[in-house]
């Protein structure tokens, strides 16, 4: 025993607000006549858009929990949705290879579909608001192994990036103004966003790259909207912007994509392919969902494994965070959603109710609601 012991006190900035865990299903909204494939809350949390296999996009009113608009125009499954950071425009893409622009308030299509891709559109990413306050540009990735950058106002394809040799499954527009694309040719490529020049290729994965996540995802998504008021939030992330990628080779990688083409860390541990990853809104933690029926938590700062969250009895398809970075929600093939607590690292609430696989979950950025949709064609809204 020494007389004097040094005590190391660690403290981390916490969110000043608290999101209550969702516990009950407040509404089961039918309307789609085919499986719901994608669910997206608007950045201000006031509207909800869903894309479905019945070729429509629906916009739901969250105050009354009723359908507001049915947007038809696509000719095939709608598989990807993206809100402009200022919530003025909604983009949708799908199997029919065209990108459609919608006015979510009026519920109308702005012009005809934008054509260019030759195969289905897999992901859409808007330019962050601080780089361009008009939200003019968006990037789409497609199965035809190209990424296209569009000007939404002029309704034109600005340039096409074709460097990948296999379907591009995920695209991100980083806060530093670089385009990131993850492809099934096992590589992630970094491009400049003004002319689409290749900056570097991030190689390391041994199989398909399934999904990309940025530490700044939440900030970029939220745009100007805060949890209290609609003012500009502080744009500086708590930590430098990092990229995480997950792959069919059961591993995750973390990259410092703006500087280095070598990964910062390789994080094995999953026993099956990793389908989806998400950074916590403060960028400290990383959650990954895998087909091995587990969700794993990683510390994004030390790049080390934290814990495994087990409980699902089927492949876990999607994972998302609450706005205060204290809770995780996962949707699975076993038809349930589960809400996990970061502090106890245990399951907090189990949310059964869907009759079949849950394809898409999203936690409202304002934190009060969760939306989930799946193969049973019913959109469910969950509240605390």
């Amino acid at each position: 025993m020494t007389l004097e012991d040094t005590f190391e006190i660690k403290y981390i900035p916490q969110a000043v607000f608290k999101v209550q865990p969702v516990t009950r299903c407040s509404a089961s909204l039918s309307g789609h006549t085919e499986a719901i494939l994608v669910v997206a809350f608007s950045p201000d949390g006031s509207m909800l858009a869903t894309g479905s296999g019945d070729t429509t996009v629906r916009i739901w009113d969250l105050k009354t929990e009723t359908p507001r608009h049915t947007l038809s125009g696509h000719k095939n499954w709608v598989q990807s949705l993206a809100w402009a950071p200022d919530a003025s425009v909604l983009l949708s893409g799908g199997m029919d290879t065209q990108l459609r622009v919608w006015d979510p308030k009026a519920g109308k299509s702005i012009g005809d579909g934008l054509r260019g891709h030759t195969q289905c559109i897999t992901a859409i990413a808007f330019e962050p608001l601080h780089l361009d306050k008009d939200a003019r540009r968006a990037a789409t990735s497609s199965k035809d192994s190209t990424v296209r950058v569009w000007d939404i106002r002029v309704r034109q394809c600005l340039f096409t990036i074709s460097g990948h040799t296999a379907p591009v499954m995920s695209v991100r527009w980083s806060g530093s103004g670089l385009l990131l694309s993850g492809s099934r040719d096992k590589s992630i490529k970094v491009w400049t966003s003004d002319n689409g020049r290749l900056c570097r290729t991030l190689a390391g994965h041994a199989h398909w790259v399934n999904h990309l996540a940025l530490t700044s995802d939440y900030i970029l998504r939220r745009g100007p909207f805060d949890h209290k008021t609609t003012s500009f939030a502080d744009k500086d992330a708590a930590y430098p912007e990092r990229l995480a990628s997950c792959s069919d080779d059961f591993t995750l990688f973390i990259w410092d994509f703006s500087r280095d083409k070598k990964p910062l860390a390789r994080m094995p541990g999953h026993q099956q392919l990793v389908n989806h990853i998400a950074f916590s809104p403060d960028g400290r933690f990383l959650a990954s969902s895998s087909f091995d029926k587990s969700v794993k938590l990683w510390d994004a700062k030390t790049m080390s494994f934290m814990t495994t969250l087990r409980g699902h009895t089927g492949a876990v398809y999607q994972v998302c965070w609450s706005a205060d970075s204290r809770k995780i929600l996962s949707g699975s093939r076993d038809s349930t959603l589960k809400c996990w607590d970061l502090a106890t690292k245990k399951m907090q609430v189990e949310l059964p109710g869907h009759a079949d696989e849950v394809f898409a979950v999203d936690w409202s950025p304002s934190g009060d609601r969760v939306a989930s949709g799946g193969k049973d064609r019913i959109l469910k809204l969950w509240r605390s």
Partner: protein, 261 residues
């Protein structure tokens, strides 16, 4: 039988006759007529065989024409018709997506349960004759005792089953007639799985048969469905489920059953 490739040799040495090209062309041009003539004149089994052959040829021909027609209008192919079974992008091109997972709709199941617990696909079964099921075996030093029975039907014995000492064994279940697996059809999915049997729940003929594990037509068996990935409303995996046997296993050498959903 030719002893050598003498025709080829002759062609190589002397060439073909001068009107060979013309003759083959004409024969080819004439072919439809000769074949039509043949089709009209043949009789009996020969006609049947020949017409069948011509029918198949025509189907093939039409198929190839259709394929060529499709490849002509390529720009249309982008606009494929909307297919069923929409999947999100992350499930595109994934193999091992066994679509034979089940809509485990609890409500539906409960409604059916209410309709009648034993509302089964085969509600009535024929009674089994005792003499048909059991074969009397003679035992004892002089073959005078007749209390041993051999079961003539398919049976299921549990795992780790050992026979009683032969001296005291009353019911003999021949190992050749013991089954471990059944081909179970899911009525809604219309797919069949080979699943391990867990037990015999009810043989409607007699409770004694249930005890002995005799499987005949109409018997309700419990099968292990954990591979199917059925889940309850709360997300728990369903393990055992009942199925009713639809065939005569003793005649067919396999057990076919239909799942009771």
């Amino acid at each position: 039988m030719p002893q050598n490739e003498y025709i080829e040799r002759s062609i190589k040495l002397h060439g073909r006759r001068f009107d060979h090209e013309e003759r083959t062309r004409k024969r080819e041009a004439r072919k439809v007529h000769t074949e039509s003539h043949k089709a009209q004149r043949l009789q009996g089994i020969k006609a049947k065989i020949y017409n069948k052959k011509r029918h198949n040829e025509k189907i093939q021909l039409k198929k190839t024409i259709k394929q060529h027609a499709e490849s002509m209008n390529k720009q249309k192919s982008a606009e494929q018709p909307v297919q069923d079974g929409a999947v999100p992008t992350y499930l595109l091109d994934r193999e091992n997506q066994s679509r034979s997972k089940v809509l485990s709709n609890m409500v539906k199941q409960k409604r059916k349960e209410k309709a009648g617990k034993w509302d089964v696909p085969i509600p009535k079964v024929k009674g089994l004759d005792e003499a048909d099921v059991f074969k009397v075996l003679k035992s004892g030093k002089r073959g005078a005792k007749q209390w041993k029975r051999m079961i003539n039907k398919v049976t299921f014995v549990g795992e780790g089953f050992t026979r009683k000492p032969p001296k005291y064994e009353r019911f003999i279940r021949p190992s050749a007639l013991r089954f471990k697996k059944a081909h179970v059809t899911h009525p809604e999915l219309k797919t069949t799985f080979c699943l391990p049997i867990l037990g015999v729940k009810k043989n409607p003929s007699s409770p004694m048969y249930t005890q002995l594990g005799v499987i005949t037509k109409g018997t309700v068996i419990e099968v292990n469905v954990s591979d199917l990935g059925l889940v309850t409303q709360s997300g728990k995996v369903v393990w055992g489920k009942y199925a009713q046997v639809t065939n005569h296993p003793e005649n067919d050498g396999c057990i076919n059953a239909v799942l009771l959903v």
